[in-house]
């Protein structure tokens, strides 16, 4: 299990998934990353920093955003 930083690009309120940019990657995004349901939708503002857990670092379907924060 890996914990990585990311930046929110966009958020889909319908299926509670997000498009994110993983810290260290340049101009490339990961689509369809699950967002923890305990994060209020109104907090999912593009540009904010994210905490992302990868249960399998090679499978983005095994990732979940567990936190969103500003610095």
């Amino acid at each position: 299990m890996d914990i990585v930083k990311g930046i929110l690009n966009s958020f889909n309120t319908g299926n509670y998934t997000a498009t994110v940019q993983i810290s260290g990657s340049d101009k490339v995004y990961l689509n369809g990353v699950a967002v923890s349901r305990n994060i209020p939708a109104e907090e999912m503002i593009p540009g904010r920093s994210l905490v992302i857990i990868f249960f399998d670092e090679f499978n983005s379907k095994e990732a979940v955003i567990t936190g969103i924060y500003t610095q």
Binding site: G24, S25, L30, D56, N59
Partner: protein, 331 residues
């Protein structure tokens, strides 16, 4: 482009070449008693390619075969007991793979089956500078299309090992080519030792399997439910009680895939439980993952099939040594 080369063979006092899955190194010692290597002759220098072509005497006379290529990464002058040597330290293909770091993020098969495991492997290897050639391949490596993400900053060896963990296939590297092999218990031997080609030293070890049961968990995206499949090695369980592990891979979407993955892990456990080593006069043609036949009556072996999982070439002119140690695994 003009190739410039220098032949170091006459000055090699000792040499040790080690080839294992995931590791290949070369250490060569050159005589320097008269200071002939006090300055390195062109083109010998850091980053240059070192080709090792082991030779042997056959009925045809002195023969040599083209062998492995390495990249020089360090050299060292050593003086002791009135002698002076230059040691060359070089690395092979696996070191190149482990030193490669992904500079971009890549995702495969997000929406549809674009690339199977072999094609992803080929993609990654080509970025590192290797061509993939197939000696043999499993249906899993060509038929499995995982949702696979390579993050920025991840090492090449980690990516390659992860991909290979999804199938029974293995790779070995020679020069700039990575060869894909699907090791099967039915593979026929390519060479025999113990009769015409003498075995000078040997050891054969049998251990209980480190793993005799595996639970593989996948996810059926159509039914939206987990798939759980157990695989067992019953004989081992009777002998050693259960030694279980659990594997979770969301890319596994059918019971058949889960079973295949479990069987692959058990097969690896079986192979690792049979290890050993034989020392033989050098056979230049021996490659990693070759199947060989060994007759060694001292250990009760008659035409026993083994797979080569490591090769060491050892030359030391001071001791009159020129031999190959072949590390053995089960078929």
């Amino acid at each position: 482009m003009i190739e410039i080369s220098v032949d170091l063979s006459p000055d090699v006092i000792s040499l040790r070449q080690e080839t294992d899955p995931g590791r290949d190194t070369l250490i060569a010692e050159l005589r320097n008693d008269d200071g002939r290597y006090n300055s390195l002759p062109s083109p010998l220098g850091m980053g240059c390619q070192l080709d090792v072509s082991p030779g042997y005497i056959t009925s045809q006379g002195n023969e040599m075969s083209s062998g492995q290529s390495y990249t020089l990464e360090a050299y060292e002058y050593v003086s002791k007991g009135g002698s002076s040597s230059l040691f060359l330290y070089a690395y092979g293909g696996w070191s190149r793979i482990s030193r490669w770091i992904s500079e971009s993020q890549f995702r495969f098969n997000e929406y549809s089956d674009e690339m199977n495991v072999k094609q992803i492997l080929e993609f990654v290897l080509s970025r590192i500078g290797f061509r993939l050639e197939v000696v043999s391949e499993s249906s899993i490596i060509t038929g499995f299309y995982p949702d696979f993400t390579i993050h920025t900053g991840i090492g090449g060896d980690i990516v390659i090992r992860k991909l290979l963990s999804m199938a029974p296939d293995v790779i070995f590297i020679e020069g700039d080519i990575a060869y894909l092999v699907n090791p099967l218990a039915s593979d026929t031997p390519v060479y025999s030792y113990g009769q015409d080609h003498v075995v000078t030293e040997s050891r054969y070890r049998s251990s209980s399997w480190k793993l005799n049961r595996i639970t593989v968990e996948g996810y059926d995206t159509t039914a939206e439910e987990r798939i759980i499949k157990d695989s067992f090695a019953w004989e081992q369980i009777y002998e050693q009680l259960t030694r279980t592990t659990r594997l979770i891979d969301r890319n596994i979407s059918t019971v058949e895939d889960a079973e295949e993955r479990g069987e692959t892990y058990l097969r690896n456990a079986e192979s690792e439980a049979q290890d050993g080593m034989i020392s033989v006069p050098v056979n230049c043609g021996q490659q990693l993952y070759d199947v060989i036949e060994i007759t060694d009556k001292r250990a009760g072996l008659i035409e026993e099939k083994k797979r080569i999982v490591g090769v060491r070439l050892i030359h030391n002119s001071r001791k009159g040594e020129y031999r190959q140690d072949l590390v053995l695994g089960a078929l």
